[in-house]
């Protein structure tokens, strides 16, 4: 009997220890045993995604936006019509009820991205792990991807840039958008927006592998589901929303 108790206690302690090394909050990974070496290509065994609970997204809070801007060196030049935005807060008001709430909008990292379909040179591309990116070396700046994106997720670099960050180079005359902080993800990190949201204790954003049934993202999606924006387009987005 005592053996039994001891065993279950040991298992319990082991599980707590494991859990504490993996995450301190949903979406914030501290450590993973599956770090991808730089020389290893990304694999389609993984699909990075995000779940956003709009009920937890605080109105007026821009922590995710601020973190993204800082991470990618997106300095506003006081020209909102041409300044780049990778992530933005959108306020929604239900027409019939007047109910109001807000959510962060970013590249939805579609499985079948229209931006990739229309790009003449292949500069818009999707990685095997589902992250949609722009290869700034072969983007000719035609902006057809911006015409095609259903989510208004992309920005065109309208002017000379200064103070660029090393991890997220940008280029005047090319198109850009949310990279899902690929430079962090490849080092087993979490996108800056998700980290900031969690750090502010809102916990409205969960990042993880949609193909890993044990990821916090997959567990939450399985439990409560998550909606795709413009699901009618059949793009199978990598970013899902709850509460809309």
């Amino acid at each position: 009997m005592s053996d039994c108790v001891n065993n279950s206690r040991r298992e319990f302690i082991a599980k707590v220890a494991l859990a504490s090394t993996v995450s301190i909050a949903p979406g914030v990974l501290l450590h993973s045993a599956q770090a991808k070496p730089n020389d290893k290509p990304v694999s389609s065994d993984t699909r990075w995604g995000m779940l956003i609970d709009t009920n937890k997204c605080a109105k007026g809070c821009t922590a995710c936006v601020d973190a993204c801007n800082e991470e990618h060196g997106l300095e506003g030049l006081g020209r909102p019509a041409t300044d780049a935005q990778y992530i933005r807060k959108v306020t929604l008001k239900e027409k019939s009820t007047g109910h109001e709430h807000s959510l962060p909008m970013l590249c939805q990292h579609c499985e079948k991205p229209p931006c990739v379909d229309v790009c003449p040179t292949g500069a818009s591309f999707k990685r095997e792990d589902g992250i949609v990116l722009v290869d700034k070396h072969i983007c000719i700046g035609c902006r057809y991807c911006m015409m095609a994106c259903p989510y208004k997720a992309r920005s065109f670099v309208h002017e000379e840039l200064t103070n660029q960050t090393l991890s997220a180079p940008r280029g005047k005359g090319t198109v850009e958008s949310c990279t899902m902080c690929v430079h962090r993800v490849d080092k087993d990190g979490t996108p800056a927006c998700v980290e900031a949201c969690t750090a502010d204790n809102h916990n409205a954003m969960i990042f993880g592998d949609m193909k890993d049934p044990s990821s916090a993202l997959s567990i939450e999606l399985k439990k409560h589901g998550g909606k795709q924006l413009r699901a009618d387009l059949g793009l199978n987005t990598g970013v899902r929303y709850q509460g809309i």
Partner: protein, 400 residues
Amino acid sequence: MKKIEYTAIKGQSVAYYGMLAGLGVVMLIGLLATWYMEHNGHHVTGMTNQIVWGTPHVFAVFLIVAASGALNVASIASVFGKKIYEPMARLSALLAIALLAGGLVILLLDLGRPDRLIIAMTYYNFKSIFAWNIILYTGFFAIVGAYIWMMMDHNMYRFKKPVGLAAFVWRLTLTTGTGSIFGFLVARSAYDAALLAPMFIIMSFSFGLAIFILVLMASYNWTGRELGDAVLARLRNLLGVFVAAVLYFVIVYHLTNLYITERHGVEDFILASGGIYTQLFWIGQVLIGGLIPLALIYAPGLRSSRKILALVCALIIFGGLAQMYVIIIGGQAYPLEIFPGYEVSSSFYDGVVAEYSPSLPEVMLGVGGVAVALFLVAFALKVLKFLPVSLADKAADPHA
């Protein structure tokens, strides 16, 4: 019918060189505008992250569409065997190449990275209709160039018909591709319609023929060559049919959208509440570019007036530009519907009609492209035998 005699224009008058110089200055101004936009970045234009394609694209797409239509006259002669169009086939093909070149120059110089043209020519994503268009445009130059060669070289004359047929099929494909640039955009309410491809084809017939008639009349007038009423009467009637057909397609497009409830927003925007876009649609596109030209073409008392015909062509060109403006810029100005059933607001202009006003450099680039096309025509007429010595009724009309 006697053999048609072609000669190059003399092109030695002060007026001719003055025209070339004038067009050269306009091209230079277009280049300066490009330098200004590329040096400072596109924030100095009217274009934004909301209206990503602006006035340069209105001019470029108009010219590219018109280019395909300018080939009409040659196609009718070679493919459909209508003899009266035969003498004008060379000019028709020349104008087609020139207009395409003018349109492409604009498109290229508006790119964020025009210096990367070589990438556009060497990296192809074959799922992109844009990439296909690059091939279609390049191929158009080659095929229509070969077509001109077949028409001009007596040894190659026997190949004129098959090459003419190839050019005809190619240009229909090309304009299908141009229309599909918009037709394939599933997410935007104003686009996402298969009808746009055939609509662009019929628009090309109308715009291209209007430009062709003006160029024909100008080159005959200014070189003192005879242009008979028989040819112009044919072209005028054909133009009337094309203008009516464009209106028909516009009606079908909007009726279809009006039937689809989720498209009511964008229809209300274009047809009723869209401000400048609504005005350009009704006054520019429908009235000036459609109904007035139709009335002038078919009004019994005006049929023989060349000035009226020239006016009709100018109105059609103006209406065509208005139509392109409504399609390209109006289509983007209407907000994307990401959250149906919600009122939306954000710092990124979600849910609001995007503002746009054309900037001077954009207009200069667009007009510069037109100058490129006209310069090419004027220059080519001097170096090669494109123009028949006479298009008088006796020479041109097979029944005379």
